[in-house]
Symmetry: C2
Subunit: 329 residues, 2 copies
């Protein structure tokens, strides 16, 4: 093992995607950076450097930064991914070329932030094409598809690394064909495709000629500083996938809830409508919840039974989640 002399010091950033659901809408906690270089003040994820002297583990470091910046005490926390490439998703204003970022997903109950610069933002503001709860989003057919087609016709630029799929196939892989074959879990793939095609604002800052490409393109979704939107996309992908084999949702709900609230929360995360009766059958049959005996009156209709999460479901079933399949609602 020849150890290289260049021991360039590295800084490890810890980033939190703090997700909650309020009135059927998923939110993520953002911090506005007032000292933003240009445009409107950009949203950032709560963020801080890992200092091993102060924090025994990465997760402790993350919790402490979040507490300091937002006042929130996190419950469920899960590591997502470590981003280290400087080639892309790096901004001109980035402090240090030796920054590596670890993204985290945190799930909480919704709360209005007390601090000035802390905001709850709807996550579909950042990814409008991901919300299929009311059918295929118009933006896909009207804006995204045509621009991606245009991009796919442009000659390959730069290093053509041996990708298994060509441009056309990647578009179909990510967005399906004519609203068919949509895979809700591919949030990150879609964002990275849009980035590569120069269709999101963040790509315009990137070193490549993306700026020119983007000049005539709409800004697809609200942008974030640095690579934070990519981290958020990773969080969404993870949540949508894990939802199906782990009881994640219950971290977002109060301890007592109706089946309809549970369904609407799942729909909010997965971004697709569900068949009510089948959802009920799935959940009740799956042993994930149990009736509390209490009722909720203020449903707007017939009162609903209140349920609670059965923690023992974890040991009973191999993968206790809500294996839901999208439907016509």
């Amino acid at each position: 093992m020849t150890s290289k002399p260049q021991q360039a010091s590295i800084e490890l950033g810890l980033h939190a995607s703090i997700v909650s659901v309020h009135q059927n809408e998923p939110y993520v906690v953002c911090v506005s950076s007032p000292k933003s270089t240009s445009r409107h003040s950009a949203d950032s994820l709560p963020f801080g450097l890992f200092t091993p002297l102060a924090h025994r583990t990465l997760e402790i470091g993350l919790r402490s930064w979040v507490k300091e910046q937002t006042g929130l005490d996190l419950g469920y926390v899960e590591q997502l991914y470590t981003f280290g490439d400087r080639g892309r998703h790096a901004q001109a204003g980035d402090r240090d070329p030796h920054m590596v970022s670890i993204g985290y997903l945190a799930l909480t109950h919704h709360s209005e932030p007390s601090q000035q610069q802390v905001k709850q933002r709807r996550w579909y503001d950042f990814f409008p094409w991901e919300d299929w709860r009311n059918g295929p989003p118009a933006i896909i057919g009207k804006v995204i598809e045509p621009l991606l087609q245009e991009w796919s016709r442009r000659p390959e630029e730069g290093q053509t690394r041996k990708r298994p799929l060509g441009k056309q196939e990647r578009i179909r892989f990510c967005f399906g064909v004519k609203g068919d074959n949509w895979d809700e879990e591919k949030v990150l793939d879609r964002y990275e495709l849009l980035y590569e095609a120069g269709l999101v604002a963040e790509a315009a800052i990137d070193g490549r000629q993306a700026a020119e490409l983007w000049i005539n393109s709409p800004e697809l979704g609200r942008s974030m500083s640095h690579d934070h939107r990519r981290i958020l996309a990773t969080a969404m992908s993870r949540m949508r996938g894990k939802l199906k084999y782990r009881p994640l949702v219950f971290e977002l709900l109060p301890s007592f809830f109706t089946l309809y609230e549970l369904q609407k929360t799942v729909e909010a995360i997965s971004g697709s409508p569900l068949h009510k009766q089948n959802f009920r059958r799935l959940v009740e049959g799956g042993g994930l919840v149990e009736a509390t005996g209490e009722m909720k009156k203020s449903t707007g209709g017939r009162p609903a039974k209140l349920f609670k999460f059965r923690h023992v479901a974890l040991v009973e079933r191999p993968s206790p989640g809500l294996r839901v399949g999208a439907s016509k609602g």
Copy 2:
């Protein structure tokens, strides 16, 4: 954002779990550390520090280290997890308290290493309780279960962080009940439980009183240096999970293969036997493979059709994997 003054420099380690399958056995590439402190020379995963000046991305850094240490040119590479806790899984001989490790999974075809200290090791040597291809491993009932029961009766030591499950429930969560409810994907959970119970050799080095606990326990599986066995467990968990919704297996197979070879490779990874006819139905019906027209004669019986992976399957199906269910074989 109050930036703390303690800018303790961090070193980022890149670790590769390089997996291949040879004659129905999964292997992982190990490097023997001759300067190991004690016992037999410990196995390590190929490993190196990330130096941003030398490598543009983390993955490039990893590939370069692996090439240098083992001579291998990696194909498929996937990031697993970033380990940063010093409290556990840290060894006395660890160079630097400020080391953070990123684990990677790499899939290759099998090859015998040319270098002296590079070895191909069967991964079930490290995790003998994970191989259920010939029924429930005897070691579970005879050794693991009794020792875990003993551990569960000992009073909780140290900080009792609000775990959702008690010791008994965790044992059932990880190992099921009487060979039932076994979830092949929980490789990491099981290793971490055994670690916590002081039943793996690595735990004996840990600061806690694990050394005493382990003194009368068998060494469960071959051990590795530092936290490398934990990284390998993460790799196995990831592979067993991802197998079901992504065409991973084909990275381990030659371009032409028989359905039986495909099945045996899947079994090698998942560690459970499969029903031959149903597997065939699943694979052929799923559109993941296509016949090449050629035949393999040296099967030991009737010649078998040779198939190849259909790359386009990626765009056709939402999650193109081998959604196999364990069976009686």
